[in-house]
Amino acid sequence: MIQQFALLIWGIEMSEFITAVLISLSSGAIYALMSIALVLVWRSTRVINFAQAGQAVLTTYIGYDIVQKTGSYWIALAGAVISGAIIGAVIDRFFMRPIFKRVNSGPIVMIAPVAATLGLLGIIQALIGFKWGLTNQSIEAPVSTNGIKVLGSVIAFSKFNLLVLVFVSIAVLLLTLLFQRTNIGLALRASAYSPEIARLSGIKVDTVRTLGWAIAGASGGLAGMLYIPGAFLYPNAMDLLLVFGFIAAVIGGLESLFGAVAGAMVLAFAINFATTYISPKLFFPTAFIVLVLVLLVRPAGLFAAKMSRRA
Protein backbone atom coordinates (compact mmCIF):
# COMPACT_ATOMS: atom_id res chain seq x y z
CA MET A 1 0.00 0.00 0.00
CA ILE A 2 2.85 2.32 0.77
CA GLN A 3 4.33 2.02 -2.70
CA GLN A 4 0.99 2.74 -4.32
CA PHE A 5 0.73 5.80 -2.14
CA ALA A 6 4.00 7.13 -3.52
CA LEU A 7 3.10 6.36 -7.12
CA LEU A 8 -0.19 8.16 -6.78
CA ILE A 9 1.51 11.33 -5.60
CA TRP A 10 3.74 11.17 -8.63
CA GLY A 11 0.68 10.86 -10.74
CA ILE A 12 -0.75 14.19 -9.73
CA GLU A 13 2.03 15.78 -11.82
CA MET A 14 0.26 18.15 -14.10
CA SER A 15 -1.85 20.02 -11.63
CA GLU A 16 1.21 20.17 -9.41
CA PHE A 17 3.15 21.90 -12.16
CA ILE A 18 0.47 24.50 -12.74
CA THR A 19 0.17 25.01 -9.01
CA ALA A 20 3.90 25.48 -8.68
CA VAL A 21 3.91 28.08 -11.42
CA LEU A 22 1.03 30.00 -9.94
CA ILE A 23 2.41 29.88 -6.41
CA SER A 24 5.77 31.05 -7.73
CA LEU A 25 4.13 34.01 -9.39
CA SER A 26 2.25 34.85 -6.26
CA SER A 27 5.15 34.61 -3.82
CA GLY A 28 7.42 36.22 -6.39
CA ALA A 29 5.05 39.15 -6.44
CA ILE A 30 5.50 39.70 -2.72
CA TYR A 31 9.26 39.33 -2.91
CA ALA A 32 9.14 41.87 -5.74
CA LEU A 33 7.54 44.46 -3.49
CA MET A 34 10.30 44.14 -0.92
CA SER A 35 12.90 44.04 -3.63
CA ILE A 36 11.55 47.21 -5.17
CA ALA A 37 11.64 48.91 -1.81
CA LEU A 38 15.27 47.94 -1.29
CA VAL A 39 16.29 48.94 -4.80
CA LEU A 40 14.58 52.32 -4.52
CA VAL A 41 16.47 53.17 -1.36
CA TRP A 42 19.72 51.77 -2.70
CA ARG A 43 19.53 53.85 -5.84
CA SER A 44 18.83 57.07 -4.01
CA THR A 45 20.97 56.60 -0.92
CA ARG A 46 23.43 53.81 -1.63
CA VAL A 47 22.17 52.10 1.51
CA ILE A 48 20.58 48.69 1.92
CA ASN A 49 17.76 49.52 4.24
CA PHE A 50 17.68 46.58 6.62
CA ALA A 51 15.08 48.43 8.62
CA GLN A 52 12.65 47.81 5.76
CA ALA A 53 11.61 44.58 7.50
CA GLY A 54 10.74 46.57 10.58
CA GLN A 55 8.95 49.32 8.66
CA ALA A 56 6.89 46.81 6.73
CA VAL A 57 5.85 44.85 9.78
CA LEU A 58 5.10 48.06 11.68
CA THR A 59 2.75 49.24 8.94
CA THR A 60 1.15 45.81 8.99
CA TYR A 61 0.51 46.16 12.72
CA ILE A 62 -1.07 49.52 11.99
CA GLY A 63 -3.16 47.75 9.39
CA TYR A 64 -4.05 45.13 12.01
CA ASP A 65 -5.26 47.86 14.36
CA ILE A 66 -7.36 49.36 11.57
CA VAL A 67 -8.91 45.97 10.85
CA GLN A 68 -9.73 45.58 14.54
CA LYS A 69 -11.39 48.99 14.60
CA THR A 70 -13.15 49.08 11.25
CA GLY A 71 -13.41 45.45 10.26
CA SER A 72 -12.33 46.35 6.75
CA TYR A 73 -9.25 44.91 5.15
CA TRP A 74 -9.31 47.45 2.36
CA ILE A 75 -9.20 50.47 4.64
CA ALA A 76 -6.39 48.77 6.49
CA LEU A 77 -4.55 48.21 3.22
CA ALA A 78 -4.81 51.88 2.32
CA GLY A 79 -3.78 52.79 5.85
CA ALA A 80 -0.75 50.55 5.72
CA VAL A 81 0.44 51.93 2.41
CA ILE A 82 -0.02 55.53 3.46
CA SER A 83 1.60 55.06 6.86
CA GLY A 84 4.40 53.19 5.12
CA ALA A 85 5.08 56.21 2.97
CA ILE A 86 5.00 58.57 5.92
CA ILE A 87 7.25 56.39 8.07
CA GLY A 88 9.70 55.96 5.20
CA ALA A 89 9.91 59.70 4.67
CA VAL A 90 10.30 60.40 8.37
CA ILE A 91 13.11 57.88 8.69
CA ASP A 92 15.04 59.42 5.84
CA ARG A 93 14.54 63.00 6.91
CA PHE A 94 15.06 62.64 10.65
CA PHE A 95 17.23 59.59 11.02
CA MET A 96 19.33 58.75 7.98
CA ARG A 97 20.13 62.30 6.88
CA PRO A 98 21.47 63.48 10.27
CA ILE A 99 23.52 60.33 10.61
CA PHE A 100 25.08 60.77 7.22
CA LYS A 101 25.86 64.38 7.99
CA ARG A 102 27.60 63.41 11.19
CA VAL A 103 29.41 60.31 10.11
CA ASN A 104 31.37 61.18 7.05
CA SER A 105 34.95 60.18 7.60
CA GLY A 106 37.05 57.33 8.74
CA PRO A 107 36.49 53.63 8.38
CA ILE A 108 33.20 53.92 10.24
CA VAL A 109 31.63 55.21 7.03
CA MET A 110 31.44 51.68 5.76
CA ILE A 111 29.82 50.35 8.88
CA ALA A 112 27.59 53.27 9.76
CA PRO A 113 24.72 52.77 7.29
CA VAL A 114 24.45 49.06 8.01
CA ALA A 115 24.70 49.52 11.75
CA ALA A 116 22.23 52.39 11.65
CA THR A 117 19.59 50.52 9.68
CA LEU A 118 20.13 47.37 11.74
CA GLY A 119 19.82 49.36 14.93
CA LEU A 120 16.66 50.96 13.61
CA LEU A 121 15.27 47.53 12.77
CA GLY A 122 15.88 46.40 16.32
CA ILE A 123 14.27 49.49 17.77
CA ILE A 124 11.18 49.21 15.59
CA GLN A 125 10.72 45.56 16.46
CA ALA A 126 11.20 46.28 20.16
CA LEU A 127 8.67 49.12 20.02
CA ILE A 128 6.20 46.77 18.38
CA GLY A 129 6.79 44.33 21.24
CA PHE A 130 6.14 47.13 23.73
CA LYS A 131 2.89 48.21 22.14
CA TRP A 132 1.35 45.07 20.72
CA GLY A 133 3.06 42.31 22.62
CA LEU A 134 4.78 39.33 21.12
CA THR A 135 1.95 36.86 20.70
CA ASN A 136 1.16 35.87 17.16
CA GLN A 137 -1.69 37.81 15.63
CA SER A 138 -3.39 37.28 12.34
CA ILE A 139 -5.13 39.33 9.72
CA GLU A 140 -7.92 37.71 7.75
CA ALA A 141 -7.71 37.83 4.01
CA PRO A 142 -10.50 39.80 2.34
CA VAL A 143 -11.23 37.04 -0.12
CA SER A 144 -11.16 33.32 0.17
CA THR A 145 -7.89 31.55 0.72
CA ASN A 146 -9.30 28.26 -0.43
CA GLY A 147 -7.90 26.71 -3.54
CA ILE A 148 -9.75 27.63 -6.67
CA LYS A 149 -11.59 24.92 -8.53
CA VAL A 150 -10.19 24.60 -12.01
CA LEU A 151 -11.54 21.99 -14.36
CA GLY A 152 -12.98 19.97 -11.54
CA SER A 153 -10.01 19.71 -9.24
CA VAL A 154 -8.90 22.12 -6.60
CA ILE A 155 -5.50 23.66 -7.09
CA ALA A 156 -3.54 25.22 -4.25
CA PHE A 157 -3.97 28.73 -5.67
CA SER A 158 -6.59 30.88 -4.12
CA LYS A 159 -8.52 34.03 -4.93
CA PHE A 160 -6.25 35.76 -2.48
CA ASN A 161 -3.15 34.65 -4.35
CA LEU A 162 -4.76 36.11 -7.45
CA LEU A 163 -5.43 39.33 -5.62
CA VAL A 164 -1.76 39.55 -4.68
CA LEU A 165 -0.73 39.16 -8.30
CA VAL A 166 -3.17 41.79 -9.45
CA PHE A 167 -2.18 44.33 -6.84
CA VAL A 168 1.53 43.93 -7.38
CA SER A 169 1.10 44.19 -11.14
CA ILE A 170 -0.82 47.41 -10.68
CA ALA A 171 1.81 48.72 -8.29
CA VAL A 172 4.67 47.91 -10.66
CA LEU A 173 2.78 49.48 -13.53
CA LEU A 174 2.12 52.66 -11.57
CA LEU A 175 5.73 52.88 -10.47
CA THR A 176 7.00 52.35 -13.99
CA LEU A 177 4.70 55.08 -15.25
CA LEU A 178 5.90 57.32 -12.45
CA PHE A 179 9.53 56.77 -13.21
CA GLN A 180 9.36 56.87 -16.98
CA ARG A 181 6.63 59.35 -17.73
CA THR A 182 6.60 62.01 -15.06
CA ASN A 183 8.89 64.84 -14.09
CA ILE A 184 9.09 63.57 -10.56
CA GLY A 185 10.15 60.23 -11.88
CA LEU A 186 12.80 61.91 -13.96
CA ALA A 187 14.02 63.77 -10.90
CA LEU A 188 14.14 60.53 -8.94
CA ARG A 189 16.16 58.83 -11.59
CA ALA A 190 18.50 61.77 -12.08
CA SER A 191 19.19 62.16 -8.36
CA ALA A 192 19.95 58.49 -8.07
CA TYR A 193 22.23 58.38 -11.06
CA SER A 194 24.17 61.53 -10.40
CA PRO A 195 23.25 63.67 -7.40
CA GLU A 196 25.71 66.47 -8.18
CA ILE A 197 24.51 67.03 -11.71
CA ALA A 198 20.91 66.76 -10.60
CA ARG A 199 21.50 69.41 -7.98
CA LEU A 200 23.08 71.63 -10.57
CA SER A 201 19.99 71.31 -12.71
CA GLY A 202 17.93 72.65 -9.87
CA ILE A 203 16.55 69.40 -8.53
CA LYS A 204 16.10 69.41 -4.79
CA VAL A 205 18.04 66.20 -4.32
CA ASP A 206 17.34 65.85 -0.63
CA THR A 207 13.60 66.16 -1.04
CA VAL A 208 13.62 63.78 -3.94
CA ARG A 209 15.56 61.28 -1.92
CA THR A 210 13.03 61.46 0.87
CA LEU A 211 10.37 60.84 -1.72
CA GLY A 212 12.21 57.72 -2.77
CA TRP A 213 12.17 56.48 0.81
CA ALA A 214 8.47 57.26 1.00
CA ILE A 215 7.70 55.19 -2.07
CA ALA A 216 9.86 52.39 -0.73
CA GLY A 217 8.00 52.54 2.56
CA ALA A 218 4.67 52.39 0.77
CA SER A 219 5.85 49.39 -1.19
CA GLY A 220 6.84 47.66 2.02
CA GLY A 221 3.48 48.50 3.52
CA LEU A 222 1.72 46.87 0.61
CA ALA A 223 3.99 43.84 0.87
CA GLY A 224 3.14 43.36 4.51
CA MET A 225 -0.61 43.50 4.05
CA LEU A 226 -0.40 41.06 1.16
CA TYR A 227 1.91 38.68 2.96
CA ILE A 228 0.56 38.48 6.50
CA PRO A 229 -2.91 37.05 5.77
CA GLY A 230 -1.15 33.85 4.77
CA ALA A 231 1.09 33.78 7.80
CA PHE A 232 1.22 35.02 11.37
CA LEU A 233 1.91 38.56 12.48
CA TYR A 234 4.69 39.04 15.01
CA PRO A 235 7.58 41.51 15.21
CA ASN A 236 9.99 39.32 13.25
CA ALA A 237 7.42 38.18 10.69
CA MET A 238 8.99 40.02 7.76
CA ASP A 239 12.65 39.29 8.47
CA LEU A 240 12.54 36.43 6.04
CA LEU A 241 10.95 38.60 3.41
CA LEU A 242 13.73 41.12 3.84
CA VAL A 243 16.32 38.47 3.13
CA PHE A 244 14.42 37.23 0.09
CA GLY A 245 13.83 40.78 -1.08
CA PHE A 246 17.54 41.42 -0.79
CA ILE A 247 18.43 38.28 -2.70
CA ALA A 248 15.90 39.17 -5.37
CA ALA A 249 17.34 42.67 -5.61
CA VAL A 250 20.87 41.33 -5.96
CA ILE A 251 19.78 38.88 -8.64
CA GLY A 252 18.13 41.70 -10.49
CA GLY A 253 21.10 44.00 -10.20
CA LEU A 254 20.02 46.59 -7.65
CA GLU A 255 19.71 49.15 -10.45
CA SER A 256 16.29 48.96 -11.97
CA LEU A 257 12.69 48.32 -11.15
CA PHE A 258 12.53 45.73 -13.85
CA GLY A 259 15.54 43.98 -12.36
CA ALA A 260 13.93 43.96 -8.94
CA VAL A 261 10.79 42.30 -10.22
CA ALA A 262 12.60 39.92 -12.52
CA GLY A 263 14.99 38.93 -9.78
CA ALA A 264 12.09 38.26 -7.46
CA MET A 265 10.47 35.99 -10.01
CA VAL A 266 13.66 34.08 -10.63
CA LEU A 267 14.08 33.53 -6.91
CA ALA A 268 10.46 32.53 -6.35
CA PHE A 269 10.46 30.05 -9.18
CA ALA A 270 13.74 28.54 -8.06
CA ILE A 271 12.55 28.07 -4.51
CA ASN A 272 9.09 26.79 -5.33
CA PHE A 273 10.20 24.33 -7.92
CA ALA A 274 13.00 23.05 -5.75
CA THR A 275 10.71 22.52 -2.80
CA THR A 276 7.93 20.99 -4.87
CA TYR A 277 9.98 18.67 -6.98
CA ILE A 278 13.07 17.89 -4.98
CA SER A 279 12.42 18.35 -1.30
CA PRO A 280 10.60 20.76 0.98
CA LYS A 281 13.79 20.90 2.99
CA LEU A 282 15.43 22.98 0.29
CA PHE A 283 13.46 26.12 1.01
CA PHE A 284 16.29 28.16 2.51
CA PRO A 285 19.27 26.44 0.95
CA THR A 286 17.91 27.16 -2.55
CA ALA A 287 17.65 30.85 -1.82
CA PHE A 288 21.17 30.98 -0.50
CA ILE A 289 22.58 28.93 -3.36
CA VAL A 290 20.91 31.15 -5.96
CA LEU A 291 22.36 34.21 -4.25
CA VAL A 292 25.84 32.73 -4.17
CA LEU A 293 25.65 31.62 -7.79
CA VAL A 294 24.63 35.07 -8.98
CA LEU A 295 27.35 36.72 -6.92
CA LEU A 296 29.97 34.37 -8.29
CA VAL A 297 28.92 34.37 -11.91
CA ARG A 298 27.36 37.76 -12.55
CA PRO A 299 27.81 39.94 -9.49
CA ALA A 300 26.23 42.93 -11.15
CA GLY A 301 23.01 41.01 -11.38
CA LEU A 302 21.39 38.97 -14.08
CA PHE A 303 19.47 41.88 -15.49
CA ALA A 304 21.85 44.79 -15.10
CA ALA A 305 22.36 46.65 -18.33
CA LYS A 306 25.75 48.00 -17.43
CA MET A 307 28.39 46.18 -15.45
CA SER A 308 29.86 49.45 -14.27
CA ARG A 309 28.02 50.72 -11.21
CA ARG A 310 29.15 48.81 -8.12
CA ALA A 311 29.36 49.79 -4.48
Binding site: G106, M110, I111, L120, I123, F130, P285
Partner: protein, 326 residues
Protein backbone atom coordinates in the same frame (compact mmCIF):
# COMPACT_ATOMS: atom_id res chain seq x y z
CA UNK B 1 68.70 41.70 30.95
CA UNK B 2 65.31 40.46 30.06
CA UNK B 3 64.02 42.75 27.37
CA UNK B 4 60.31 43.32 27.81
CA UNK B 5 59.03 43.49 24.30
CA UNK B 6 55.41 44.45 23.79
CA UNK B 7 54.49 40.88 23.05
CA UNK B 8 56.17 39.61 26.20
CA UNK B 9 54.39 42.32 28.16
CA UNK B 10 51.16 41.17 26.67
CA UNK B 11 51.79 37.57 27.58
CA UNK B 12 52.55 38.47 31.18
CA UNK B 13 49.44 40.64 31.32
CA UNK B 14 47.29 37.77 30.09
CA UNK B 15 48.83 35.32 32.52
CA UNK B 16 48.31 37.66 35.43
CA UNK B 17 44.74 38.25 34.36
CA UNK B 18 44.22 34.51 34.14
CA UNK B 19 45.46 34.02 37.69
CA UNK B 20 43.20 36.78 38.94
CA UNK B 21 40.24 35.04 37.36
CA UNK B 22 41.28 31.78 38.95
CA UNK B 23 41.44 33.29 42.41
CA UNK B 24 38.19 35.13 41.89
CA UNK B 25 36.41 32.00 40.74
CA UNK B 26 36.90 30.53 44.19
CA UNK B 27 35.41 33.56 45.88
CA UNK B 28 32.23 34.18 44.00
CA UNK B 29 28.95 32.31 43.82
CA UNK B 30 27.50 30.26 41.01
CA UNK B 31 25.51 33.11 39.56
CA UNK B 32 28.56 35.26 38.95
CA UNK B 33 30.48 32.32 37.56
CA UNK B 34 27.60 31.63 35.19
CA UNK B 35 27.52 35.24 34.06
CA UNK B 36 31.29 35.37 33.89
CA UNK B 37 31.30 32.43 31.50
CA UNK B 38 28.91 34.30 29.22
CA UNK B 39 31.11 37.40 29.39
CA UNK B 40 34.11 35.36 28.32
CA UNK B 41 32.17 33.73 25.50
CA UNK B 42 30.76 36.97 24.16
CA UNK B 43 34.12 38.68 24.48
CA UNK B 44 35.59 35.95 22.30
CA UNK B 45 32.82 36.32 19.74
CA UNK B 46 33.33 40.07 19.66
CA UNK B 47 37.02 39.43 19.09
CA UNK B 48 36.14 37.66 15.88
CA UNK B 49 34.19 40.71 14.78
CA UNK B 50 37.04 43.05 15.62
CA UNK B 51 39.31 41.00 13.43
CA UNK B 52 36.91 40.71 10.55
CA UNK B 53 35.22 44.07 10.55
CA UNK B 54 37.43 46.36 12.54
CA UNK B 55 40.68 45.26 11.05
CA UNK B 56 40.05 43.73 7.66
CA UNK B 57 37.05 45.88 6.96
CA UNK B 58 34.54 43.18 6.08
CA UNK B 59 31.19 43.78 7.66
CA UNK B 60 29.58 40.42 8.20
CA UNK B 61 26.27 39.67 9.85
CA UNK B 62 26.91 35.98 9.80
CA UNK B 63 28.83 35.49 13.04
CA UNK B 64 25.89 33.71 14.60
CA UNK B 65 25.89 31.22 11.74
CA UNK B 66 29.60 30.58 12.15
CA UNK B 67 29.18 30.15 15.86
CA UNK B 68 26.47 27.62 15.09
CA UNK B 69 28.77 25.73 12.73
CA UNK B 70 31.46 25.52 15.38
CA UNK B 71 29.00 24.55 18.08
CA UNK B 72 27.44 21.75 16.04
CA UNK B 73 30.81 20.49 14.87
CA UNK B 74 32.13 20.34 18.41
CA UNK B 75 28.95 18.83 19.80
CA UNK B 76 28.82 16.13 17.17
CA UNK B 77 32.50 15.37 17.66
CA UNK B 78 31.94 14.76 21.34
CA UNK B 79 28.54 13.13 21.14
CA UNK B 80 28.78 11.02 18.01
CA UNK B 81 32.48 10.39 17.74
CA UNK B 82 33.15 10.18 21.42
CA UNK B 83 36.05 12.57 21.35
CA UNK B 84 37.37 14.31 24.44
CA UNK B 85 35.66 17.63 25.16
CA UNK B 86 38.86 19.63 24.70
CA UNK B 87 39.32 18.04 21.29
CA UNK B 88 35.71 18.96 20.68
CA UNK B 89 36.58 22.62 21.19
CA UNK B 90 39.45 22.30 18.76
CA UNK B 91 37.18 20.66 16.24
CA UNK B 92 34.70 23.48 16.67
CA UNK B 93 37.29 26.11 15.86
CA UNK B 94 38.77 24.10 13.03
CA UNK B 95 35.54 23.22 11.26
CA UNK B 96 34.23 26.76 11.61
CA UNK B 97 37.53 28.02 10.28
CA UNK B 98 37.37 25.81 7.23
CA UNK B 99 33.77 26.80 6.67
CA UNK B 100 34.82 30.41 6.98
CA UNK B 101 37.55 29.82 4.46
CA UNK B 102 35.08 28.47 1.93
CA UNK B 103 32.64 31.23 2.71
CA UNK B 104 35.39 33.79 2.40
CA UNK B 105 36.29 32.50 -1.03
CA UNK B 106 32.72 33.17 -2.10
CA UNK B 107 32.21 36.55 -0.51
CA UNK B 108 35.72 38.00 -0.60
CA UNK B 109 34.95 39.96 -3.71
CA UNK B 110 31.92 41.54 -2.18
CA UNK B 111 31.94 44.83 -0.43
CA UNK B 112 29.72 46.80 1.85
CA UNK B 113 26.07 46.00 1.65
CA UNK B 114 26.48 43.02 -0.67
CA UNK B 115 28.60 41.33 1.95
CA UNK B 116 26.29 42.38 4.72
CA UNK B 117 23.23 41.12 2.89
CA UNK B 118 24.80 37.81 1.90
CA UNK B 119 25.97 37.08 5.40
CA UNK B 120 22.51 38.09 6.60
CA UNK B 121 21.02 35.48 4.30
CA UNK B 122 23.46 32.97 5.71
CA UNK B 123 22.62 33.83 9.29
CA UNK B 124 18.94 33.35 8.58
CA UNK B 125 19.18 30.16 6.56
CA UNK B 126 21.91 28.21 8.30
CA UNK B 127 20.13 27.48 11.57
CA UNK B 128 17.19 26.06 9.66
CA UNK B 129 19.48 23.36 8.31
CA UNK B 130 19.40 21.86 11.76
CA UNK B 131 15.79 20.97 11.16
CA UNK B 132 16.58 19.22 7.91
CA UNK B 133 19.11 16.69 9.03
CA UNK B 134 18.06 14.34 11.81
CA UNK B 135 21.60 13.95 13.01
CA UNK B 136 21.51 17.56 14.03
CA UNK B 137 18.62 16.85 16.32
CA UNK B 138 16.31 19.70 15.22
CA UNK B 139 15.18 21.93 18.04
CA UNK B 140 16.20 19.36 20.59
CA UNK B 141 19.73 19.73 19.33
CA UNK B 142 22.86 17.87 20.22
CA UNK B 143 24.19 17.89 23.77
CA UNK B 144 27.55 19.52 24.39
CA UNK B 145 28.94 17.93 27.44
CA UNK B 146 32.24 19.00 28.88
CA UNK B 147 31.64 16.65 31.74
CA UNK B 148 32.17 17.61 35.33
CA UNK B 149 35.38 18.63 36.97
CA UNK B 150 37.93 15.88 37.50
CA UNK B 151 37.37 13.98 40.73
CA UNK B 152 40.46 15.35 42.37
CA UNK B 153 38.89 18.77 42.67
CA UNK B 154 36.39 17.38 45.06
CA UNK B 155 32.73 16.58 44.91
CA UNK B 156 31.59 20.10 45.65
CA UNK B 157 33.28 21.58 42.62
CA UNK B 158 30.45 23.44 41.02
CA UNK B 159 29.48 22.76 37.42
CA UNK B 160 29.47 26.49 36.90
CA UNK B 161 33.00 26.96 38.15
CA UNK B 162 34.18 24.22 35.81
CA UNK B 163 32.46 25.84 32.84
CA UNK B 164 33.89 29.22 33.86
CA UNK B 165 37.40 27.80 33.92
CA UNK B 166 36.98 26.26 30.50
CA UNK B 167 35.38 29.33 28.95
CA UNK B 168 37.88 31.77 30.44
CA UNK B 169 40.89 29.68 29.57
CA UNK B 170 39.78 29.13 25.98
CA UNK B 171 38.91 32.80 25.59
CA UNK B 172 42.16 34.00 27.13
CA UNK B 173 44.29 31.81 24.92
CA UNK B 174 42.41 32.71 21.76
CA UNK B 175 42.28 36.45 22.46
CA UNK B 176 45.98 36.46 23.26
CA UNK B 177 46.63 34.72 19.97
CA UNK B 178 44.53 37.21 18.04
CA UNK B 179 46.10 40.13 19.88
CA UNK B 180 49.47 38.96 18.72
CA UNK B 181 48.16 38.52 15.21
CA UNK B 182 46.75 42.01 15.09
CA UNK B 183 49.90 43.72 16.27
CA UNK B 184 51.98 41.79 13.84
CA UNK B 185 52.59 42.40 10.20
CA UNK B 186 49.23 40.79 9.46
CA UNK B 187 47.41 43.33 11.53
CA UNK B 188 49.01 46.16 9.65
CA UNK B 189 48.14 44.48 6.39
CA UNK B 190 44.51 44.21 7.44
CA UNK B 191 44.36 47.85 8.37
CA UNK B 192 45.97 48.90 5.12
CA UNK B 193 43.36 46.84 3.33
CA UNK B 194 40.52 48.37 5.23
CA UNK B 195 41.60 51.95 4.86
CA UNK B 196 42.59 51.93 1.24
CA UNK B 197 42.18 48.75 -0.76
CA UNK B 198 43.46 50.28 -3.96
CA UNK B 199 46.68 51.48 -2.39
CA UNK B 200 47.07 48.16 -0.66
CA UNK B 201 46.74 46.31 -3.94
CA UNK B 202 49.24 48.62 -5.55
CA UNK B 203 51.75 47.98 -2.83
CA UNK B 204 51.67 44.32 -3.59
CA UNK B 205 49.20 42.97 -1.08
CA UNK B 206 47.05 40.19 -2.45
CA UNK B 207 43.78 41.69 -1.31
CA UNK B 208 41.68 38.66 -2.03
CA UNK B 209 43.93 36.27 -0.19
CA UNK B 210 44.26 38.46 2.86
CA UNK B 211 40.52 38.97 3.07
CA UNK B 212 39.84 35.26 2.82
CA UNK B 213 42.48 34.57 5.44
CA UNK B 214 40.91 37.07 7.80
CA UNK B 215 37.53 35.49 7.19
CA UNK B 216 38.86 32.05 7.97
CA UNK B 217 40.58 33.01 11.20
CA UNK B 218 37.66 35.10 12.36
CA UNK B 219 35.32 32.21 11.67
CA UNK B 220 37.49 29.85 13.67
CA UNK B 221 37.34 32.20 16.62
CA UNK B 222 33.59 32.55 16.21
CA UNK B 223 33.24 28.79 16.01
CA UNK B 224 35.09 28.36 19.28
CA UNK B 225 32.89 30.95 20.96
CA UNK B 226 29.85 29.12 19.61
CA UNK B 227 31.09 25.90 21.15
CA UNK B 228 31.62 27.64 24.49
CA UNK B 229 28.08 29.00 24.31
CA UNK B 230 26.82 25.50 23.69
CA UNK B 231 28.62 24.36 26.82
CA UNK B 232 26.81 26.98 28.87
CA UNK B 233 23.40 25.96 27.62
CA UNK B 234 24.41 22.30 27.81
CA UNK B 235 23.81 21.63 24.17
CA UNK B 236 23.40 23.23 20.79
CA UNK B 237 20.14 23.93 19.00
CA UNK B 238 19.22 26.27 16.18
CA UNK B 239 17.45 28.75 18.39
CA UNK B 240 20.69 29.34 20.26
CA UNK B 241 22.10 31.22 17.28
CA UNK B 242 19.43 33.52 15.96
CA UNK B 243 20.04 36.54 13.78
CA UNK B 244 19.55 38.75 16.81
CA UNK B 245 22.75 37.29 18.24
CA UNK B 246 24.70 38.60 15.25
CA UNK B 247 23.13 42.00 15.80
CA UNK B 248 23.88 41.98 19.48
CA UNK B 249 27.50 41.00 18.92
CA UNK B 250 27.97 43.65 16.27
CA UNK B 251 26.38 46.12 18.63
CA UNK B 252 28.68 45.08 21.45
CA UNK B 253 31.66 45.39 19.16
CA UNK B 254 30.80 48.82 17.84
CA UNK B 255 29.85 50.15 21.26
CA UNK B 256 33.14 49.16 22.82
CA UNK B 257 35.26 50.03 19.83
CA UNK B 258 35.32 47.87 16.76
CA UNK B 259 38.81 48.93 15.79
CA UNK B 260 40.62 47.64 18.81
CA UNK B 261 40.71 44.57 20.97
CA UNK B 262 40.86 46.66 24.11
CA UNK B 263 37.16 46.71 24.63
CA UNK B 264 36.16 43.12 24.09
CA UNK B 265 35.77 42.27 27.74
CA UNK B 266 33.73 45.39 28.21
CA UNK B 267 31.71 44.38 25.19
CA UNK B 268 30.99 40.98 26.69
CA UNK B 269 30.08 42.67 29.95
CA UNK B 270 27.68 45.00 28.14
CA UNK B 271 25.94 42.10 26.43
CA UNK B 272 25.50 40.26 29.72
CA UNK B 273 24.59 43.39 31.62
CA UNK B 274 21.87 44.58 29.28
CA UNK B 275 19.38 41.79 30.04
CA UNK B 276 20.11 42.31 33.74
CA UNK B 277 19.52 46.03 33.45
CA UNK B 278 16.37 45.36 31.50
CA UNK B 279 15.23 42.95 34.24
CA UNK B 280 15.69 45.49 36.99
CA UNK B 281 14.09 48.23 34.90
CA UNK B 282 11.05 46.05 34.47
CA UNK B 283 10.95 45.31 38.19
CA UNK B 284 10.98 49.01 38.85
CA UNK B 285 8.53 50.29 36.30
CA UNK B 286 6.61 47.14 35.56
CA UNK B 287 5.37 46.15 32.16
CA UNK B 288 3.74 43.54 30.03
CA UNK B 289 5.51 40.43 28.81
CA UNK B 290 6.02 42.08 25.46
CA UNK B 291 7.84 44.93 27.14
CA UNK B 292 10.02 42.67 29.25
CA UNK B 293 11.15 40.47 26.42
CA UNK B 294 11.68 43.28 23.92
CA UNK B 295 13.55 45.60 26.23
CA UNK B 296 17.03 44.04 25.95
CA UNK B 297 16.80 44.16 22.14
CA UNK B 298 15.73 47.77 22.34
CA UNK B 299 18.65 48.69 24.55
CA UNK B 300 21.17 46.93 22.33
CA UNK B 301 19.82 48.57 19.18
CA UNK B 302 19.69 52.01 20.77
CA UNK B 303 23.23 51.57 22.04
CA UNK B 304 24.39 50.54 18.59
CA UNK B 305 22.94 53.64 16.95
CA UNK B 306 24.29 55.95 19.64
CA UNK B 307 27.71 54.37 19.33
CA UNK B 308 27.77 54.78 15.57
CA UNK B 309 26.76 58.39 15.78
CA UNK B 310 28.66 59.60 18.81
CA UNK B 311 31.59 57.29 19.34
CA UNK B 312 32.27 55.47 16.13
CA UNK B 313 35.79 54.70 17.15
CA UNK B 314 34.90 53.31 20.51
CA UNK B 315 34.78 54.87 23.95
CA UNK B 316 38.55 55.32 23.84
CA UNK B 317 38.13 58.05 21.28
CA UNK B 318 35.66 59.80 23.56
CA UNK B 319 38.26 59.89 26.29
CA UNK B 320 40.81 61.14 23.81
CA UNK B 321 38.55 63.94 22.74
CA UNK B 322 38.05 64.94 26.34
CA UNK B 323 41.79 65.17 26.72
CA UNK B 324 42.20 67.28 23.64
CA UNK B 325 39.51 69.62 24.77
CA UNK B 326 41.55 70.34 27.86
Amino acid sequence: MLKLTPSKKRLILFIIFGWILLILSNQVGDLKLYQGSFIATYALAITSIILLTGYSGQLSLGQSALMAVGAYAGALAIFNLGLHPVIGLFVAALVAGVFGLLLGLIVARLSGPYLAGTTLALAVSLPTLANQFPILGAEEGVPFDVGSAPARFGEDFSQYKWQFWIASLAALIMVWFIANLLTSRYGRTYKALRDNPVAAELSGINVGQVKVGAFAISSGVAGLSGALLAVLISGVSPSAFPLSLSFALLGGAVVTGVYSLKGVILGGLVLVAIPEIADSLVLRIGGSEGFTTSLPGFLVSALLILAVVFAPNGPGSLIKREHHKK
